[in-house]
Symmetry: C2
Subunit: 279 residues, 2 copies
């Protein structure tokens, strides 16, 4: 049996590292083969699994410094058919890659906007004159290094090895505890695990409309580990809420909470229960 897994490519991205760790650690059954399918954007990665071109997709959902990945939350809400199979927490260690002889000769710095943001203070300190230039992925930033020896890129040390590029500085992220959480998504129902994710919209402009849904969990002692609001895209000031709770949807108190939640929400979507793996 072979399992195909979509992720943001090309090879060398953090999404690929998370996918490889997922394959190594569990879930893909022993003896089965796995096929990595890199896609050029997070949106295309998610469409590929929704349209069943692949079995699973691994996408970033949250970074400890930069916060939520909006496109992932928005498409989970819109696509409506995906279930969370697993959550993966990957430590992020950014390196400065370049064919320049020294850091001082670098004139341009390329990377994904999240990576640039995560190294902002380091860049201001060591390369204050250099204008950061965003790219679609950390790997895409590497394309500039061979033709231009005054260019630098922020990517992982694994990417440096993979593309045979020199590392001029390591661990340049401003906060050492930099982690990204990825979700493994598929169409199979996700029925057990330590965490459950859901999203809902509330009736508009009702004072306290968000309090009732949150009370449903609080009064049962169910901890909410995360809440994120995203615009519904209808009009400014209308949101849906994405919530993670630290409990399994199959236990009776959570079942009761989810049933009660229906009466306080407009649209309610449950993305399943899953476990969290730190890699």
């Amino acid at each position: 049996m072979s399992v195909s897994i979509a992720h943001l490519g090309p090879p060398g991205t953090y999404a690929e590292a998370a996918t490889l760790a997922y394959i190594r650690n569990l879930a893909v059954e022993k003896g089965s083969k796995s096929l990595l399918c890199p896609y050029p954007s997070i949106a295309q990665t998610l469409y590929s699994v929704a349209q069943e071109q692949v079995d699973l997709a691994v996408v970033p959902v949250e970074n400890s410094i930069e916060g939520s990945v909006a496109i992932t939350l928005d498409l989970l809400w819109q696509l409506d058919t995906l279930q969370i199979q697993q959550s993966l927490v990957l430590p992020i260690r950014h390196a400065l890659l370049s064919r320049a002889s020294t850091i001082e000769t670098i004139k341009t710095i390329y990377s994904h906007p999240q990576a640039l943001a995560q190294c902002q203070q380091w860049l201001e300190k060591f390369l204050p004159e250099v204008q950061p230039t965003p790219t679609n992925s950390t790997t895409e930033a590497l394309h500039y290094l061979d033709k231009d020896h005054t260019a630098g890129a922020i990517a992982s040390e694994r990417a440096a090895e993979l593309y045979n590029l020199p590392v001029l500085a390591s661990a340049i992220n401003d906060y050492p505890d930099n982690c990204t959480r990825f979700l493994v998504l598929g169409k199979q129902p996700s029925t057990s695990g330590s965490h459950t994710s859901l999203a809902f919209s509330t009736p508009a402009n009702v004072p306290g409309a968000l309090v009732k849904p949150l009370q449903v969990f609080a009064q049962r002692g169910i901890n909410m580990s995360r809440i994120e609001s995203r615009p519904t895209k209808r009009s400014l000031g209308e949101y849906f809420f994405f919530i993670d709770i630290e409990a399994d949807a199959s236990i009776s108190s959570v079942k009761a909470a989810l049933e009660e939640l229906v009466s306080y929400t407009e649209i309610l979507k449950i993305f399943g229960s899953y476990s969290v793996l730190s890699i």
Copy 2:
């Protein structure tokens, strides 16, 4: 008297349009002069007012499609000395600018990541083969058009006029109700207006830690128009919450709510009361 106002530049950005509307419509007293100061990033715009190099700063805080502007929320929380003087809602109408003879000859498309995201469906329909390339501002995207006649940029029609560039398509944003909300920030205390903004962190890992702060407003019938969580950057899963309420902090029920809030929060910051202007 002259008032200096920082904004994301160069001229032609939506931030500049919001700043000009603010000057035209109110607040800057009649007879006083205003000086626009463009900065290369939102962060530098905010530092300039925090360090008193300018009197005011105009920065985007939220878009109806793409959601919050993370850097604005994070710096408001960190800088700790800024008060919201006014909120401005600006309709966003994106245009496709290019020196290409027809849309079909465009090979690359440049713009700020938020603008690219807001025109994603239009781009997939009319320019499916073209890879979008991010830039630091919508105006920066225009730099490519003169040297490369197969390049296109997404920016405002005002930018097209300002830089004398042809408009190949108008109103290309996927959602017609596309608005961005800007904040006018300064160091003067903001004591009255229809809206009040605040942010707080809660004691970690207490079930229902967020419910109590929200109840403080709900039980007084004070409507919360927005809640946004941002990572504290200490460790994954620790957040601060940014909240807008539809009430003036000087009325007694709001005063009482804010006093009660102190006991349910870890750190509490109040950014003042202000009015909302649609432009």
